[in-house]
Amino acid sequence: AQTVTQSQPEMSVQEAETVTLSCTYDTSESDYYLFWYKQPPSRQMILVIRQEAYKQQNATENRFSVNFQKAAKSFSLKISDSQLGDAAMYFCAPIRLTFGKGTLLTVNP
């Protein structure tokens, strides 16, 4: 069975600081795509960042970057210079159509 684990149900960060959200998974597939999604309070889920498993280079999108360790099946999300608008539930989806349980990120002013 394919599993996704987000080991941090909740995290908090000070505004302007850096925070890393973890995600590990188990899959037998070799070529796949990995996603992080963000769900702000009472708002729609949106894509944060996407990584292709065949690429060695970690994806970066402005203040958001990933640390993808394929052999370790780890896919963490780093948010730099955290802003109040980053407060949300974050879901990783490293396996096709399978999501983690989410990490609730609080940003403190």
Partner: protein, 113 residues
């Protein structure tokens, strides 16, 4: 911008009622999905569809059915609603099968009394 809409933001139904949740996307996406979201459980896939009139079971299809008569519309049906189906239901769509970003609707919060 891709737009995925869901027919209701909030819905209250009685046990045993037949419930229809509608989802419409405006970007000609091939694929559409229904998830339910529960605290502490994340998103769980109920059903998905890769083409009109096609449907495939997800991880938790029991108690649900779906209909996709037109490409842009994907309906989730609760034949006889039960209290354990009280949840947030999210619809999503995408171009490709798993490699592509999913675009989500705003969700329908269903309460079954």
């Amino acid at each position: 911008d891709v737009k995925v809409t869901q027919s209701s933001r909030y819905l209250v139904k009685r046990t045993g009622e037949k419930v229809f949740l509608e989802c419409v996307q405006d970007m000609d996406h091939e694929n559409m999905f229904w998830y339910r979201q529960d605290p502490g459980l994340g998103l769980r896939l109920i059903y998905f569809s890769y083409d009109v009139k096609m449907k495939e079971k997800g991880d938790i299809p029991e108690g649900y059915s779906v209909s996709r008569e037109k490409k842009e519309r994907f309906s989730l049906i609760l034949e006889s609603a039960s209290t354990n189906q009280t949840s947030m239901y999210l619809c999503a769509s995408s171009w490709g099968r798993g490699a592509d970003t999913q675009y989500f609707g705003p969700g329908t919060r269903l309460t079954v009394l």
